[in-house]
Each structure stands twice: as structure tokens, then as C-alpha cells.
Symmetry: C2
Subunit: 155 residues, 2 copies
DNA sequence: TGAAATGGTACTAATTCAGTTCTATTATTA
DNA sequence: TAATAATAGAACTGAATTAGTACCATTTCA
């Protein structure tokens, strides 16, 4: 299984396409362009509209328009709207409610929580704007820095 | 669905437990300690043994021993051994083979590839050693730095 | 009035995940 | 030497999730 569901993936295509088409576009157009099942894509676009990413217009020349700024749409947001919030393991959900039976003696609890946070930081940090134009983010160079340091100390 | 499968999660518990028990431990012991289905856990341990993380000893006082250094076991390795290598989307697999039909005009191809790399970097970078003792890694402080910088320029 | 779009909901099929089952082999111990 | 407790290996099943359909209603416009 992929990390991102197809809904998530298709949603990013939709949002990106609509960003390039400020006058809007319909489910038919987008499904044709990317060879995606039309009714499936239509459902996804309904959901995106419902969550305030798109505005809709019915009728013959209807369609959807992107109404949120790409900089304000984080991957974590889309994920939460379409599927569910990110969590690293089953236990991650439990931990907040403190229901995991192993929590008092679990040898990986703290470590996993750190990994959880690192990935969640990426998902909250990366926006549609960066997906559209990966060069705009300073975090790219920072990430390379991180990679070099860790190789130096660790390998 | 969680990012890590249960197999992955249980494997980390197994490896951590065995690190704390250098004389080894059996599937029975570990399944009892963490309340995990014994045959399921046994399968996981077989796989870990098969991939060279553990050595096994049959018979009445048999069991498994951790034979790889925690610093040399990255999350990406375990994931690959138990499930499949990390990939962000269905297309991520295709892209290497260049079979994705949208690849020539896909508006998110480069951006997604960047996200893919960032997450994969974490999975390759974080080892069992860091899971066991999250304070040992310099990347923790670096990560906080990254968070601060990105908040400063972006929010 | 008919075609083309979204709105809403319920349903189905396919796939994956989680867990089981069974038989064989090895080693210890009484 | 027989019972027991462990791993080895493979096939199988049930449950859950994902991916995709189907249907009908409503809106808009030509
Ligand atoms: S598995 Fe739940 S706290 Fe570690
Ligand atoms: S979806 Fe395959 S290249 Fe973008």
C-alpha cells in the first residue's frame, strides 16, 4: 500500500489543475485529462468542495474553482479532509487516549512518538504551493544539510 | 490505516525487547508480554530471522537473539523486510519504470518526488538505536531548527 | 425541454491486512 | 526414549479498508 491513498493523490492533481485554471474546470475535464474514473473523481471533488477548498457552480457550464491559496493548503489538511489524520501506528491513536495496554512499559513509545512528529511536521509543512513549485521552499536546502550531517555522524 | 503496519510495529517491539534481553527470548514470552497473537508474532520473528536481524535456536530452551547492531537497523530496512519498500503513491512505483501515463504533463510529479525523498530520508535515517534512545540523535535538535525556520519564513 | 453539470447517499467489488492452521524438525529434560 | 517446547515453512481464511459504482435529485443554460 502507498502512503497516500488514491483519493489523496487525485485530490492533489485536482487542486494543481485548478490552480492552473483559475476560471475553473469540471470533473469531466479533469478525469479525461488524467484518465481517472469520472464518478470517483467527482466524489473526491464534492468532498474538497465540502471542506472549503473549492467553490462549485452547477449547470451546463458549471464546475469547480480553487478558492484557497496554495500556500494555505498543507498535505496534512487534505489528508484529514479525505481520509483521516496521519498516525504512525495503531497505537498512535490510542496513545492520545492513553488506552494502549503497553504504554507503561513500552520500550519504543518515546522513540516512535519522535518519528511520528517528524513525519507529521513534513505533512503540515509542505503545502500545495511547494508541490506546484518545489524550488520556492528553503526547506529543500535545509533538508540536504540534514542529510549530510546525519551521514557524517552516523555512517 | 496507519503508516506502519502491525507487522512493522510488532517487529520494532520484538527488536527492542531482544536488545534488552541479550540472552534471547521466545515468541511465547514476547507475545505474552505485549499481548500479541502468538502465531502472528511467530511469523514476524521468522521473517526477521530470515532477513538476518535475529539468530534462532530451536528446542525447549530455544528462542531468538538480536544479532545486528541497533545503529545498523533503519526503519526503511525493517519495512522492506516485512512489507514492501516505502513509496508515497501508486505512481511512485510507476515513475521508476516510467509507466505512469501522466508523467509527461503531470503538474505534481517533481513536487511529489521531493516529498517522497524527505520521508524516505527519515526512514533511512532513523535506526532502532534512536527508537530505543531518542536523545542520542543530533537530528532531533536539527529538526527543531527546521521547524523554527520554516515557521519563520512561512507562517 | 433536454443536456450537462453538481449534491448526496448508498452500495459493491477488489485488494490488502491480520491472523490462523497444520505439519515438520530440532533440542531439552525427565 | 518419550514428552515437551521451541522454531521452520507454507498455505489458508476472515476481517477491514480501499477503490470504484450507481442512483436519483437539483441546478443551470442553451
Ligand atoms: S505500542 Fe502502545 S505505547 Fe508502545
Ligand atoms: S501521477 Fe504519475 S507522474 Fe504524476
Amino acid at each position: 500500500m502507498s502512503f497516500f491513498s488514491r483519493k489523496m493523490d487525485y485530490a492533489l492533481l485536482v487542486l494543481s489543475h485548478l490552480h492552473g485554471n483559475p476560471d475553473g474546470s469540471s470533473a469531466r475535464e479533469i478525469s479525461a485529462k488524467f484518465s481517472i474514473s469520472r464518478p470517483f473523481l467527482a466524489n473526491i471533488m464534492k468532498t474538497l468542495c465540502h471542506h472549503g477548498y473549492l467553490s462549485s457552480h452547477r449547470g451546463v457550464h458549471g464546475g469547480y474553482v480553487l478558492i484557497r491559496k496554495p500556500e494555505d493548503i498543507a498535505l496534512a489538511d487534505i489528508m484529514q479532509s479525505l481520509d483521516e489524520p496521519f498516525h504512525l501506528t495503531d497505537c498512535s491513536k490510542d496513545i492520545e487516549k492513553q488506552t494502549c495496554s503497553a504504554r507503561t512499559f513500552c520500550p519504543i513509545r518515546t522513540g516512535m512518538s519522535g518519528v511520528h512528529d517528524r513525519i507529521r511536521t513534513i505533512l503540515k509543512d509542505v503545502t500545495l504551493a511547494e508541490i506546484l513549485d518545489p524550488t520556492i521552499r528553503p526547506s529543500v536546502s535545509l533538508q540536504f544539510g540534514l542529510e549530510l550531517v546525519s551521514n557524517g555522524t552516523h555512517k
